[in-house]
């Protein structure tokens, strides 16, 4: 080692590891919110690095809309086994069955908002005091204001105008019974950083991120995968396209893009040349200009 500075990716990694170690030190029962998407995979990888050679210290929590890509579920289960970690599932289907929430109706129905209840119920019933997320400030404008350590009241709500100040790297995770924190170790990363890091570290990700042939329909300006969960009618005409996904979420609203990128190198190249933000393909964010902020206030990821 001849140079005495870190490059930006090394500095971001060091910052994230610092944050994860603060979580382990400051909370009793922390979990990683695991969606099977690249951001939560990167956070999981960072946690593995942060505590090496000790055992992986967090449980993974999956908020399951019931509308999953089978590939994501397989990936999740395999990772859990590899880490020797606990899996906690918060089920939206269960919340519907119990009458905690009511399913949306119609062609554009989505279980996105319903996740909030499943998430908060699971946090409460498992007495979780910290949920670590893969949220990044560059994803969306309401997220740009999010702290690393983000306080939630005992209704799980975020009060963006009344956030705790966060100075230097002195993170304050103190809270009362029933309250919890959301912690975002990769707050300062961009989509490009995440991909460069996945490439550098050679991190395994679900096959859905690589270009593959799939039956899709054109809806809300992106290619929505045909699945048993998708409400279709005569207006929809399924076609087979070579696509890949930039984010993974609920299979009924996660749109893919046409792509030939079937290796990590090609994906990095493609992302670098991209003209749309990744959330441009998510119907959940398009409902109104402040829809993310509204959902986040109520307790969304």
């Amino acid at each position: 080692m001849s140079k005495y500075y870190l490059n930006y990716l090394e500095e971001l990694e060091s910052e994230a590891i610092f944050v994860l170690r603060e979580v382990a030190a400051q909370f009793r029962n922390p979990v990683i919110l695991f969606s099977g998407g690249k951001d939560s995979i990167v956070v999981t990888h960072l946690a593995r690095k942060a505590f090496y050679p000790a055992k992986f210290p967090f449980a993974l929590m999956h908020v399951d809309t019931g509308h999953n890509f089978p590939e994501t579920m397989e990936f999740r289960d395999q990772l859990i086994q590899e880490l020797g970690a606990n899996l906690i599932v918060g089920s939206v289907q269960e919340a519907i069955d119990k009458g905690r929430v009511v399913e949306e109706k119609g062609r554009n129905a989505s279980r996105n908002v319903l996740q909030i209840t499943a998430l908060l119920d699971t946090i409460e019933s498992n007495q979780i005091d910290c949920a670590i997320g893969g949220g990044r400030r560059d994803e969306e404008k309401a997220r740009a204001k999010e702290r690393f350590f983000s306080h939630r009241d005992d209704f799980g709500q975020w009060d963006p105008k009344n956030q705790r100040p966060e100075l230097w790297n002195l993170f304050n995770g103190k809270h009362f019974q029933g309250e919890h924190f959301r912690v975002f170790p990769i707050s300062n990363w961009t989509e490009m950083d995440v991909w460069n890091y996945i490439l550098k570290e050679n991190i395994a990700i679900p096959s859905l991120y690589f270009a593959h042939e799939r039956e899709v329909i054109w809806r809300n300006n992106s290619w929505i995968p045909v699945s048993e969960h998708l409400n279709m009618d005569e207006r929809d005409s399924p076609v087979t396209k070579k696509i890949r996904f930039r984010t993974l979420g609920d299979i009924t609203i996660t749109g893919g893009i046409e792509s030939e990128a079937d290796t990590l190198e090609k994906i990095v190249e493609e992302v670098a040349a991209m003209r749309q933000t990744e959330r441009g393909n998510r119907a959940d964010d398009k409902r109104s200009e402040s829809s993310m902020e509204d959902r986040k206030r109520e307790g969304y990821f």
């Binding site: 080692m1 005495y4 500075y5 870190l6 490059n7 930006y8 990716l9 090394e10 500095e11 971001l12 990694e13 060091s14 910052e15 590891i17 610092f18 170690r21 603060e22 382990a24 030190a25 593995r48 690095k49 505590f51 090496y52 050679p53 000790a54 055992k55 400030r137 560059d138 404008k141 309401a142 740009a144 204001k145 963006p160 105008k161 705790r164 100040p165 966060e166 100075l167 230097w168 790297n169 002195l170 304050n172 103190k174 809270h175 009362f176 300062n188 961009t190 490009m192 950083d193 460069n196 670098a272 040349a273 991209m274 003209r275 749309q276 933000t277 441009g280 200009e289 402040s290 902020e293």
Partner: protein, 427 residues
């Protein structure tokens, strides 16, 4: 054209630069950041479309660049920046994080927050108004938080006919206020955020200006030497004890090296216990290192079995911080309830936590006039004061101006759990 400037960037020599911006309302901060993002091609098509739609809905023409940074709904509606918003962009030379902070006096605490981690402050001055009260305030905060570099951008040069005289005049005004502060490196750039002159591209309207445009300045600012590489400070975050067959007796101390360098074999001392030992290994997931430097997150093991826990600090034997229970500090009061006279607060310093009490208010700083008021006794929101603090157990401190990590602290109110003050240690 929209696209990504980052296409061919190399990661290897690319450093991270943290910027904070300050300026009073309507000086053009948001426009400037929007311009930086736009001209460096860091804005995506769908973001641009959303902004165009919003601009049109407000009955205005074209694209309002300020809308890229004004995030929360209340701010979009009121058209002002309330909280700190973070923006990211990358050029082939660097990755940038911009903390956009509001300028009103009632948001002093937000400015302090944005400034706490910044390598460089951009201070905006409206060319028509020159140096005003707010400029002084923002500069004082940059100085208080010891931001190593300050760039004074004289904005809206288009409204003063691009005149050099005006620019030089403002530069002179600014040099006048500098004498009361400790800012190491100051530069001046005449710009028009609205029209883009000297932001990313060199201005054709101001050929008299020989210096570099803002972006180039940010890309080439020398920052490696800003970090303290002399005083080795390793606050312990957590203990790594695998207790597996393979790592049966492994006991590692995990933390981030906040300053200085550590090598295998170095003689170290654990504080506050004072026990000596040597570095046996520096471990990471990626392997064992011969040496580590700040700000690396590492795990170290020692030759001797000594009792160390979170909040302790490992340092070199011949270079130790001060261990004190009483010290002076500048604080910025962040909370909406005032400080309680002789109030007790939890102090968080590095990874260490103790109880503390404010024993005296030495003076309150009037950050507009930069006068000290030694009569003041109460501490309210946004106040900046010099205080005396007493802790129940010794802290391992350095002066803030020598070491941002071991010279800073926060105070937490045990009644509400809120972070109520930010502090910078004087002695």
């Amino acid at each position: 054209m929209i696209g990504n400037y980052a296409e061919k960037m190399s990661i290897e020599n690319n450093q991270l630069l943290r910027i904070s911006t300050a300026g009073s309302v309507d000086d053009g901060k948001s426009t400037l950041i929007g311009r930086l993002l736009y001209d460096s091609k860091s804005i995506f098509e769908d973001q641009l479309e959303a902004i165009e739609t919003t601009t049109k809905r407000k009955g205005r023409e074209g694209i309002d660049l300020a809308l890229f940074t004004d995030g929360l709904r209340d701010e979009r509606e009121q058209g002002i920046t309330i909280d700190v918003a973070y923006r990211y962009f990358t050029t082939p030379k660097r990755k940038f994080i911009i903390a956009d902070t509001p300028g009103h006096i009632q948001y002093t605490r937000n400015m302090v927050t944005g400034a706490s981690t910044a390598n460089v402050a951009i201070i905006l001055v409206d060319a028509r108004n020159g140096v005003i009260e707010q400029t002084r305030r923002h500069s004082y905060i940059a100085s208080l938080l010891q931001i190593p570099h300050v760039i004074v951008c004289v904005n809206k040069m288009d409204l003063v006919d691009w005149k050099e005289d005006r620019f030089l005049d403002i530069q002179q005004q600014y040099e006048g206020i500098l004498s009361k502060m400790s800012i190491k490196d100051v530069r001046y750039i005449p710009i028009s955020a609205l029209e883009g002159d000297n932001v990313v591209n060199r201005s054709e309207n101001m050929s008299w200006y020989q210096g570099a445009p803002l972006l180039h300045t940010l890309e080439t600012l020398h920052i490696s030497s800003d970090l303290n590489k002399i005083d080795t400070r390793f606050p312990v975050q957590t203990i790594i004890r695998p207790q597996t067959d393979k790592f049966h007796d492994y006991r590692g101390y995990a933390g981030r090296l906040e300053s200085g360098i550590l090598r295998k074999g170095d003689e170290v001392v654990a504080l506050p216990s004072g026990f000596n030992s040597r570095i046996k290994s520096i471990d990471t997931f990626d392997g064992t290192f011969e040496e580590a430097f700040a700000p690396m997150s590492i795990t170290i093991t020692l030759e001797d079995d000594i009792d160390i826990s979170r909040g302790d600090m490992i340092v070199r034997k011949n270079n130790q911080p001060n261990q004190v229970q009483e010290f002076d500090a500048m604080i910025c009061w962040l909370n909406s309830s005032p400080a309680r006279p002789r109030g007790k607060y939890t102090i968080r310093h590095t990874t260490n936590e103790q109880k503390s009490m404010i024993t005296e208010v030495v003076y309150k700083m009037d950050i507009n006039s930069l006068e000290r008021n030694s009569e003041a006794t109460e501490i309210k929101t946004n106040d900046i004061c010099r205080i005396k603090l007493k802790t129940t157990k010794p802290l391992m401190i350095d002066e803030y101006r020598d070491n941002r990590a071991t010279g800073s602290f926060i105070l937490i109110d045990d009644g509400t759990n809120e972070t109520v003050a930010a502090g910078m240690i004087i002695s």
